[in-house]
């Protein structure tokens, strides 16, 4: 089979179906024009291989059309994904541990056995998998969190804090981020907890 066609096929496999035929037709036309100018239609397989090498790996060529931006879960969606995944993970582990504890308290000896632990271990990938699938669908349909401020942001609304408050990115402060779930990202919460500064109310 013609090397050019094999090359185009390899590029095409990595292109979105929507403009695949069109992009390939243009690339084919370009490659044939180049071959004709350089070799006057007398190109050997070596010549063709040389040109294709120059043109670039199929993966790279395809990526130049998609801007290299092919995400399972894109950067806009990722922070939300991570937050939801953490919540789900915590809830799953918590739920399983409670189940084991209840089983033990009820005197069911087998509750602490291998089955209980297997349940815990199995439920984690299942739970995370479901979250991934939901976000995959969101990504596919281009659902993105609205990062734009709904109203003009007023610096005076920044909350005050005590001087001895330290930055604690996790732990008890974690739950404070949930009000941010609906509106936007709780990024500002991380920023204003700077130790050693006092903001007067």
């Amino acid at each position: 089979m013609n090397l050019v066609e094999r090359y185009l096929h390899a590029v095409g496999r990595r292109l979105p179906a929507k403009n695949r035929a069109d992009i390939l037709a243009e690339l084919r036309s370009h490659l044939n024009d180049t071959l004709e100018e350089r070799f006057g239609g007398q190109a050997s397989e070596e010549d063709v291989a040389e040109l294709l090498k120059e043109t670039g790996e199929p993966t790279k060529v395809a990526a130049s059309y998609t801007g290299g931006r092919q995400y399972l879960i894109g950067p806009e969606l990722y922070p939300v994904f991570r937050m939801v995944a953490l919540i789900v993970l915590a809830a799953t582990i918590g739920g399983q541990l409670v189940a084991i504890a209840v089983g033990l308290l009820a005197g069911e000896a087998h509750a602490a056995g291998w089955n209980a632990w297997a349940g815990l271990v199995n439920s984690i990938p299942a739970a995370l998998g479901s979250v991934v699938i939901v976000f995959l669908i969101l990504q596919h349909f281009g659902v993105n969190p609205d990062l734009k401020e709904k109203e003009a942001w007023d610096p005076k609304t920044l909350p005050a804090f005590e001087e001895d408050e330290k930055v604690k990115p996790s732990g008890h402060r974690f739950w404070q981020h949930f009000p941010g779930l609906a509106g936007g990202f709780p990024r500002q919460n991380w920023l204003h907890h700077v130790p050693g500064r006092r903001v007067l109310p």
């Binding site: 403009n19 992009i23 037709a25 243009e26 690339l27 084919r28 036309s29 370009h30 044939n32 024009d33 180049t34 004709e36 043109t55 670039g56 790279k60 060529v61 130049s64 059309y65 801007g67």
Partner: protein, 116 residues
């Protein structure tokens, strides 16, 4: 002597510098119908180095933004896709060209200041 790292850094910076100018060059060169391969030749002749991996995706992007129009022409040896600047593209080119000249003057005067 420049280290490998410095060369790489310089490459990246000049590439970044060129990146913004390339669509401007393409819009300038597409005052009349041209297909990609011929356009690469014209750009090279004008001193603008641009490979197909950069040009074709850019042509598509400019077309999807409404700045170019394209059509397949099948009368020659092989079908070719011809591009030409659109009316909207002309307007954008006019404003961009103003921006370019302003930027160029500003940078020029900054560079002259350090030469003194």
């Amino acid at each position: 002597m420049k280290t490998q790292n410095q060369n790489e850094q310089l490459d990246n910076l000049s590439q970044e510098l060129r990146r913004g100018a390339l669509p401007l060059a393409v819009l300038c060169m597409l005052q009349e119908n041209k297909y990609g391969y011929a356009l690469i030749g014209d750009l090279t002749a004008a001193g603008v180095e641009m490979d197909q991996g950069t040009l074709y995706p850019m042509l598509r992007r400019l077309e999807s933004q409404g700045l170019l129009q394209s059509s397949w022409v099948v009368d020659g040896a092989r079908p070719r896709r011809y591009y030409v600047i659109s009316p909207q593209g002309r307007e954008v080119l006019a404003s961009l060209s103003g921006e370019w000249q302003k930027l160029s003057r500003v940078v020029q005067s900054l560079l002259e200041q350090i030469e003194k």
